[in-house]
Subunit: 383 residues, 2 copies
């Protein structure tokens, strides 16, 4: 259900003929009101795709009536012609749904540097507009998949109001904003002025700390739309909590389906002097190819954790750092701890705990291992 779990939303996902595979490739989500509050967080990549440039403008007034998303092409680095393609897409949606094009968010995902097949896309918009339904959430979640192996959906219902979301993304997951498209809907009454900071805070704690392969995409978009159809104004803290939970669960679904990965790795940095320190250390470790290869080899190679830690400016003493893999403290005081042989890294989930002994703040960063299949997927297929 996901994006159609909350009242006031219809959605669909159809085969428009954009993807060579013939799979579903065009999704549409419409907010039927009564309210049209919206917020979004976009990639911080300076080279951003035409749909990101367009959608940033759409969000300026905090109102979104519909979002159209295509897989099969990112429409990034396509010049003025690519921007015109996005503009025509929004106009076509406006015409089909009888709404203002300036209230239509556009998202694209796929190969960079290739024009979209506009004839197929525009025809698909008519088909999609006619197919919108209150139970079209799963179809929409399927239509935004690229190298994802399954659709990703989460819902949360709290005291009469609901939040639901769908996500796609399996590569180019990196700090700043994991590479992905995410659409979140809620029937709670949340004015745009509250929705934007709430979404920013939730993404900061979740998607921003997901770093599958260190690469930041040109198309990342997280869109939240609030219809107010439940008639309920939620407690601000309760809404923030639910929104963060939905973002966290969607993020974990992305992590679990990352290209070619055989392990999901949580690097938890504790007793840091500051959150910035904890994050810098966590990101330095999750960015290390040698560390990620070691995990693929089921090797609790703490030397590679310390090598990465040593490149940071965080507060710690080199001889005061403990590192545990799945609960076994293989490095104590910056030197040799328990025998590596005690660590079992065969389960998919790997927990790395880094204790800096420099304060009382903690943060977790998530990543995947570096595998033959990651190389294969990214060497053999353009994306």
């Amino acid at each position: 259900m996901s994006v159609t779990a909350a009242q006031g939303f219809t959605a669909t996902g159809i085969k428009a003929g954009i993807k060579a595979s013939g799979n579903k490739d065009l999704a549409m989500v419409r907010n039927n009101g009564p309210r049209f509050d919206a917020a979004a967080v976009f990639t911080s990549n300076r080279i951003c795709a035409a749909p990101v440039t367009w959608s940033r403008q759409v969000l300026a007034d905090g109102r979104v009536d519909a979002v159209v998303l295509n897989s099969g092409g990112a429409n990034a680095c396509t010049g003025p012609e690519g921007f015109a393609d996005t503009h025509h897409t929004a106009e076509k949606v406006g015409e089909a749904l009888d709404i203002a094009p300036g209230d239509v968010v556009v998202c694209s995902t796929g190969l960079i540097g290739v024009r979209l097949p506009m004839e197929a896309l525009l025809a698909g918009i008519d088909t999609a507009a006619a197919a919108l339904s209150a139970d079209g959430g799963t179809d929409a979640a399927e239509a935004i998949m690229t190298t994802d192996t399954h659709p990703k959906q989460v819902t949360r219902t709290v005291e009469g109001w609901t939040i639901g979301g769908m996500a796609k993304g399996a590569g180019m997951l990196a700090p700043g904003l994991a590479t992905m498209l995410v659409v979140i809907t809620t029937d709670a009454v949340v004015p745009a002025g509250q929705l934007q900071p709430a979404l920013r805070e939730s993404t900061r704690l979740t998607f921003d700390r997901l770093d599958s392969d260190g690469c930041m995409s040109t198309n990342d978009t997280v869109l939240a739309m609030a219809s107010g159809a439940s008639g309920i104004t939620p407690d601000a803290d309760a809404f923030q909590r639910a929104l963060t939970e939905v973002c966290h669960e969607l993020g974990q679904l992305l992590l679990g389906d990352a290209e070619g990965a055989s392990h999901d790795i949580a690097v938890r940095v504790v007793n840091a002097a500051s959150e910035a320190d904890a994050l810098e250390v966590g990101r330095s470790i999750t960015a290390s190819n040698l560390f990620k290869c070691a995990i693929f080899g089921n090797d609790p190679n703490w030397g590679r954790v310390l090598s990465a830690l040593g490149t940071t400016g965080a507060a710690y003493e080199p001889d005061g750092v403990d590192v545990s893999f799945n609960g076994v403290m293989v490095c104590r005081g910056g030197a040799i701890g328990e025998p590596r042989e005690l660590v079992d890294l065969h389960p998919r989930q790997v927990d790395v705990l880094v204790d800096l002994h420099a304060g009382s703040v903690e943060a977790t960063v998530w990543t995947n291992d570096l595998t033959y299949d990651y190389v294969k997927e990214n060497a053999e297929y353009s994306s």
Copy 2:
């Protein structure tokens, strides 16, 4: 010949029984004077190995009489006991060669977090001291190899004086200083006060711009020793040029032998507003796993170059960037250029040219592709 090409130096490489493989694992290079000027550049990793901590102290007075290097163990993250091992190593060399232990540089390379087999190492020092010879350069270059597939040596003779060098390093090659051990010798007369800035400048332009896998080691050391045995004081510019050439060639040998690589990639950034900009852009591209996988797949995926560029703060206009692969401008003005099909990426050498059109400065950063074999070597073997 390498380190023994210059007059005044003897060297050797022997099997001390440190490596399980039984291969050569202990090298020694002695400066027989008449001068003992020395300079060194070490890893900037804050988690540095015991031999780095020791050798920094040795270099404080600019005099080095000998260097002892072992493969088969990094002696990093080994606590106070590991530092004592390095200290004993230097004392033993001092005793064997009748020199001050405080003038003995120690370098180690291999697995982090494991103590060295000191009995074998100390016995090996006696053997090595007795085996020092004026043609032992190649033996020394072989004894410092880890996953290197061949010894790496370069010599340069200019107007009566000579510079020679040996290097090891095949993984953990990263900015700040490529992971490696390098020993450079010269018989030119170069006081330590001139040698240190000259070495810093040469490494800045060469090893610092080599980024095989983004990982910075705990043991990196580049040591230069000048015996003055030629009696010639070289022109400062000529010496700087020759030193940079030797460092560059050694760096290219490291690149060509990087773990599992099938391509050597030069990312040349031109028309940048500053050297810092050119380097930031170059490093962002060479750090991209997606870019490196694409090269492995012989795919001129310029979208991944632009995605990386977009994460930098360098001066450029997104619609003003050109990207060429092996001379074919596949991206022009930030959008679609020549057809990708015109690019042949089958040769080992790949040249990527990024024109920022934002100034007149250029810089080149070198890296390798990301391959199955890189993952295999770093997943299956601890290092």
